[in-house]
């Protein structure tokens, strides 16, 4: 069990490692630059110490040889004492290096973080686009988006703020302790004695608060959901005259939420105050002991001043270190949530990747199919569509007609032994998937439009499509007139506030999208259901004119739409119930004939209404 967990963790971090490709070096450079900053921070107090003790105090320097040599090159400490500007200039020079490095730290670390985020986003997006359609059907959009946004963000925070800052802070602490020890071991012990106390205190406190924070987050979610619910349900609230109840319910929850945070605030404030006291005591101890050592002559005043500087440098990083140690554990969860997407295999490529001519006969040969975890949807379906002809598919809800088309477009792969589908004699499983899809143009009943302009939506398949061709296609789809009514015409953004396309307009946009780049195989899956009868007829006329040479498949529940098909198959509960020309079927005595009678008015509505009563 534990091994498994460790294994998972290892895999997550391996994923992080691949994401870090391209950004690692920036983080490493950032850490190097920040070491330089820390080093400069260590050196400045030394300059001041040397100024106080050696240049001004005239004490014998206990500095490393090179430093003494350097001072001698500038005329010796005595000279420097008289010309303090030289030492001040040295301080300034160190500052220039330090702040230059500080700038680099910011830029490099951000470069790393941004590169990492970009890599993660890009990989996630392109991976998601290439995951099989079945996977998309299994997962909730909201949940996936959460993984792609908040989880990416928390991984970024982990690497750029926590991981690299922890390294930086550790370097800073080690460096200052080293410098302090070199000056005076005793005072160092006094100074660092508080570090474990503060650190331990922070970590244990953070653990304790953790559950509280989670609870607060949860309640905040509830408050937010309450607002959402009230706003979306405004009609119900008003119609049931429940304004007061809604207000009171919200206020109750909101006040509870507020109270929770106020309580949390009390604990947090206590914690902050104790931290403040501990840090201040640390400074006081250094001053008190430092003074004592100076008075008994075992320490110089310059040493003490430098010591105080180092000591104050440590205060903040130590406080932050504690917090970071707590937050580091969270990244693991986010990584696992991202790995859930990244570890899913992409759509497999066709082994043979053939690219045959697509204007051949389409044959469904004993095709059976079941969705994962459900019973069989299609049972032993066989039919063929002659090249260049038009096939109509008639069927009720859930008869499997859309599934047939998803199989033809390889959205789902036909398992071994469940029959085969061929185009011009080639099994589609051997045809290159992208090639196959780009040669099949499919218009869906509820078309998906992108949040771009109408022109972009129509011309989405290729950047080479000119606006004239867009207009032309739009006219053929009886869309042009509606678009002209929009103040921005073809540049109208779909989904922009105020501009919502009706169901019929959306369908016509999708048809224009298909018309603008004709393909050898055209599928219209109930794609005129929201268009009124006259427009329906007009568009069908256009389609016939244009796609004489294409193999066309029309799916509909209305016979007028299918009346000119060369052949119709009637699909009933996943089986082919009838097939033939419209004329043959009309007199076959089957379900088609019954529907024909209803829809041609042979059986009047009056009769039917009587039947119903």
């Amino acid at each position: 069990m534990k091994d498994e967990k460790r294994q998972k963790r290892k895999e997550n971090f391996r994923l992080l490692w691949t994401f870090l490709k391209g950004s690692k070096r920036w983080f490493i450079f950032g850490v190097i630059a920040s070491s330089l900053v820390s080093l400069a921070d260590m050196v400045s107090p030394q300059i001041i110490r040397a100024a106080i003790d050696n240049a001004l105090g005239g004490l014998e320097p206990d500095l490393p040889g090179w430093a003494v040599a350097l001072a001698d090159r500038f005329g010796g400490f005595e000279y420097l004492g008289e010309h303090l500007w030289i030492m001040a200039a040295a301080l300034a020079l160190i500052a220039v290096i330090r702040n230059g490095a500080q700038y680099l730290v910011g830029v490099l670390n951000n470069r790393g973080a941004e590169t990492l985020v970009k890599t993660m986003r890009d990989s996630l997006f392109s991976h998601i686009e290439r995951l099989p359609y079945a996977w998309h059907m299994k997962n909730h959009t909201g949940d996936l988006i959460q993984r792609c946004t908040s989880d990416v963000e928390s991984v970024r925070r982990f690497v750029s703020m926590q991981l690299s800052n922890v390294i930086r802070i550790v370097i800073l602490i080690v460096l200052s302790i080293w410098f302090m020890v070199r000056m005076d071991l005793r005072l160092t012990l006094v100074g660092v004695s508080m570090i474990p106390v503060i650190l331990g205190f922070t970590v244990s406190f953070g653990r304790k608060m953790h559950a509280g924070f989670e609870h607060c987050d949860e309640v905040e979610g509830q408050v937010s959901a309450l607002v959402q619910e009230n706003l979306t349900g405004v009609r119900v609230v008003r119609a049931f005259a429940r304004e007061r109840w809604e207000r009171d319910r919200f206020i109750e929850k909101d006040n509870y939420y507020c109270g929770l945070w106020v309580e949390m605030g009390k604990t947090m404030t206590r914690f902050f105050s104790i931290q403040d006291i501990l840090s201040a005591l640390q400074v006081m101890l250094v001053i008190v002991f430092g003074c004592a050592f100076c008075v008994n002559g075992t320490m110089t005043s310059g040493d003490l001043i430098a010591f105080i500087s180092y000591n104050s440098m440590l205060a903040w990083p130590i406080r932050r270190l504690g917090r970071m140690l707590i937050e580091m554990s969270k990244a693991d969860v986010s990584l696992a949530r991202i790995a859930y997407i990244m570890n899913e295999p992409e759509e497999p490529a066709s082994e043979k990747a053939l690219k045959p001519a697509m204007n051949g006969d389409i044959v469904f040969d004993h095709v059976s199919f079941a969705y994962e975890g459900s019973s069989e949807t299609l049972h032993d379906i066989s039919f063929d569509v002659e090249a260049g002809s038009t096939l109509g598919i008639l069927g009720g809800t859930g008869s499997g007609k859309s599934t047939l088309m998803l199989l033809l477009d390889k959205m789902y792969l036909l398992p071994e032994g469940s029959g085969r589908i061929t185009v011009g004699g080639t099994d589609i499983k051997d045809i290159d998937t992208e090639y196959l899809r780009s040669n099949i143009s499919m218009v869906l009943q509820e078309p998906f439009l992108f949040s771009r302009t109408i022109a972009d939506n129509i011309a989405i398949s290729s950047r080479a499509i000119t606006i004239d061709r867009v207009r032309e296609a739009s006219r053929a789809a009886s869309l042009d007139e509606s678009v002209r009514e929009f103040s921005k015409g073809y540049d109208t953004f779909v989904g922009e506030r105020g501009v919502t396309l009706s169901g019929g307009q959306k369908q016509r946009t999708a048809i224009a999208r298909a018309l603008v780049s004709p393909a050898p195989i055209m599928i219209f899956d109930d794609s005129l259901s929201a268009v009124d009868t006259e427009t329906d007829a007009k568009i069908r006329g256009e389609l016939e004119k244009r796609f004489g040479s294409s193999t066309t498949i029309l799916i509909s529940h209305r016979l007028t739409t299918l009346s000119k098909c060369d052949k119709i198959i009637v699909l009933d509960s996943g089986r082919v119930a009838e097939q033939g020309t419209p004329d043959e079927l009309r007199t076959s005595g089957g379900i088609y004939q019954k529907i024909f009678e209803i829809q041609s008015g042979a059986a009047g509505p009056e009769e039917a209404a009587g039947e119903e009563a």
């Binding site: 951000n110 408050v223 403040d276 004592a292 809800t397």
Partner: protein, 611 residues
């Protein structure tokens, strides 16, 4: 659109607009201000104490008075800890309470705003006003104020101490302050602007993820994966560039602050080095102050900038609070009938259920043409009105007027013979039953949802209502019965089940007036029949207005109104309209065909399943 208008028109960072809130919390804010000043003073005291220690003990070569020094230091720590504790605690609580007050007031106000507000502002937009703008305002008015005062305090305090000790040296250090202040003031705005742009691109990226996921099927079948990804990648590149620009600017900020601090330090060493010979403590005090002066200066500038940013939030929030509902009760009406939070039910007449449209003209506030012109219609109690037409033809208009969600542009809607405006909205709504096409349930139990129709109803009443709409089996098959949680938006129930529960909810109060938007959503045949039977049953003995999709409702209605392109084109009984052979008869024909066809399919399916 509306969003950006209010941006730059508010004086004093828009704070005068928040005066009522500030006055409400004036005592807490006073505590915050006083404690932050004390806290700031204590911060300044440490270097002074340090100076004393170094001067007296190190220079003086004696440890005499050390006890006293420790006492003084501990006193300073105590002062700091106590003032800091009170400050943080009160400030935090004030921020939270302010946020809560604003949220509560916003929600109360939203309960009064009319539907045209909801139609022109998306739920997401309003949600952000309630949840996020309020938070920013609270933060600005508490923490930002607190920080601004604290940092001003430390800057002014340390300058004062330095001036008292060595005016000349202080003057030299102070030269740096105006220089960096100007620098900050110039670039802070740019940094905020960059951050705003980053957030904007970020929300676009989220949108693209959404599109890439929901549009997967279309993207695959069009084989445009590469193009969509290219566009996505151009956004991630854009955010990368913008973020880096912001990072570089932030880097410059930090470097400049650090440089200024070091410059001050160098000045102290160069000009004040000699002090160290006599008074090592004074030297160290100057060093500490000089080094720590620059950070607060940058923080003061940031505080100011945050006030400027906060102005936008205040503008948006007050725009919401100042929107006036289009439909509202007159003062006289409120006087007699009460408002929506405190109704005076004792003055309410009983609702009988007669409705009359009297020469009504109507135009939607955001529309540009009259959708009703001189429309008159009497609907006496017990009448069943059906409204038919294609999807999106504007069938809800009459319902909106009857429910007084909107008011006529001209003419009157009479309820029980009196203008609807003569009585309160709540009065009307209390006598109304309403069933939406897409049933909207609230999170909570089934009982909670049913009680929405009639608070305080007994279990018997509830079951009677469920019985009426044949929804008892829905409840009985659930383990916890009425106490079953329905999930957010009722997501744990099926569409058909939600439909039935929302019926029961409307029926529970036994309303005289029933408004019903029939469902078109696909539910299985059995449920569809149950729902249909329920409709037939519940509309009897009430005035009902049904937005109709089902043949039985249309056929049996007393009056049928036919809507096309937002306007009523035909009206009359079913037989009259059929005989007229107009738009209605075509519509009827097509609906009939569709329905008969789908019935045929499902019968066939059952037969197959039976075999």
């Amino acid at each position: 659109m509306k969003k950006t208008k209010e941006k730059n028109s508010l004086p004093f960072f828009g704070i005068p607009k928040m005066m009522p809130l500030i006055i409400k919390y004036r005592k807490d804010l006073a505590v915050v201000i006083v404690t932050t000043i004390i806290f700031g003073l204590m911060e300044i005291t440490y270097p002074v104490l340090q100076r004393y220690a170094l001067n007296r003990f190190v220079e003086g070569g004696t440890l005499e008075g050390m006890g006293l020094f420790i006492l003084a230091y501990i006193a300073a720590i105590a002062g700091m800890a106590i003032s800091g504790y009170i400050n943080t605690r009160v400030c935090m609580a004030t921020e939270l309470r302010m946020n809560t007050t604003m949220r509560n007031e916003a929600m109360a106000h939203l309960q009064k705003l009319s539907f045209d507000y909801y139609n022109t502002n998306s739920v997401g937009y309003i949600h952000a006003r309630v949840m996020s703008d309020t938070g920013h305002i609270g933060e600005t008015l508490t923490w930002n104020l607190n920080d601004g005062i604290f940092f001003t305090m430390t800057v002014v305090g340390s300058i004062a101490v330095m001036l008292a000790i060595d005016p000349k040296l202080t003057a030299m250090i102070l030269v740096i302050v105006p220089v960096i202040s100007v620098f900050y003031a110039l670039f802070q705005g740019k940094l905020f602007e960059l951050n705003r742009q980053v957030r904007e691109i970020n929300s676009r990226i989220t949108g693209q993820f959404n599109e890439g996921i929901t549009g997967a099927k279309t993207i695959k079948s069009l084989v445009v994966e590469d193009r969509i990804f290219e566009d996505f990648e151009s956004e991630t590149r854009a955010i990368f560039n913008k973020s880096m620009e912001a990072a570089r600017l932030r880097g410059v900020f930090r470097a400049v602050t650090g440089m200024a601090a070091s410059a001050a330090l160098a000045i102290v060493l160069w000009q004040g080095g000699l002090i160290a010979k006599e008074e090592i403590g004074t030297f160290s005090l100057f060093m500490t102050y000089a080094r720590d002066l620059m950070e607060p200066v940058s923080m003061i500038v940031e505080s100011l900038a945050l006030f400027i940013v906060g102005k936008v939030n205040i503008g948006r929030y007050t725009a919401l609070m100042e929107s006036v509902p289009n439909v509202r009760d007159s003062e006289a009406v409120e006087e007699k009938y009460g408002d929506c939070f405190d109704p005076k039910k004792e003055n309410w007449e009983e609702l009988k259920g007669d409705i009359e449209f009297d020469h009504v003209d109507f135009q939607y506030p955001d529309g540009d043409e009259l959708v009703l012109e001189d429309f008159s219609l009497k609907i006496p109690f017990g009448t069943n009105v059906a409204i038919v037409g294609e999807t999106g033809a504007g069938k809800s208009t009459l319902v909106n007027l009857v429910c007084r969600f909107y008011e006529p542009t001209r003419g009157r809607v009479l309820i029980d013979g009196r203008d609807a405006r003569e009585r309160s909205q709540l009065w009307l709504h209390s006598g109304l039953g309403y069933v939406l096409q897409t049933p909207h349930l609230f999170s909570g139990t089934i009982r909670d949802n049913l009680l929405y129709g009639k608070p305080g109803a007994t279990d018997e009443e509830i079951y009677a209502a469920l019985e009426k709409v044949s929804a008892v089996p829905v409840v009985e098959k659930l383990e916890k019965g009425l106490d079953t949680d329905v999930g957010e938006g009722g997501s744990l129930l099926s569409t058909g089940e939600k439909q039935l529960i929302s019926f029961a909810r409307a029926i529970l109060a036994d309303p005289r007036l029933l408004v019903l938007d029939e469902a078109t959503a696909s539910v299985d045949t059995m449920t569809e029949q149950t729902i249909q039977a329920a409709i037939d049953k519940v509309i009897k003995g009430r005035t009902s207005i049904v937005i109709a999709h089902r043949l039985s409702t249309i056929r049996n209605a007393d009056i049928i109104l036919v809507v096309k392109d937002g306007k009523i084109v035909e009206q009359g009984s079913h037989d009259d309209l059929l005989a007229a052979k107009g738009y209605y008869s075509r519509l009827w024909q097509r609906q009939y065909e569709d329905e008969a066809t789908s019935r045929l399919w499902s019968e066939n399916q059952e037969k197959t399943a039976g075999n």
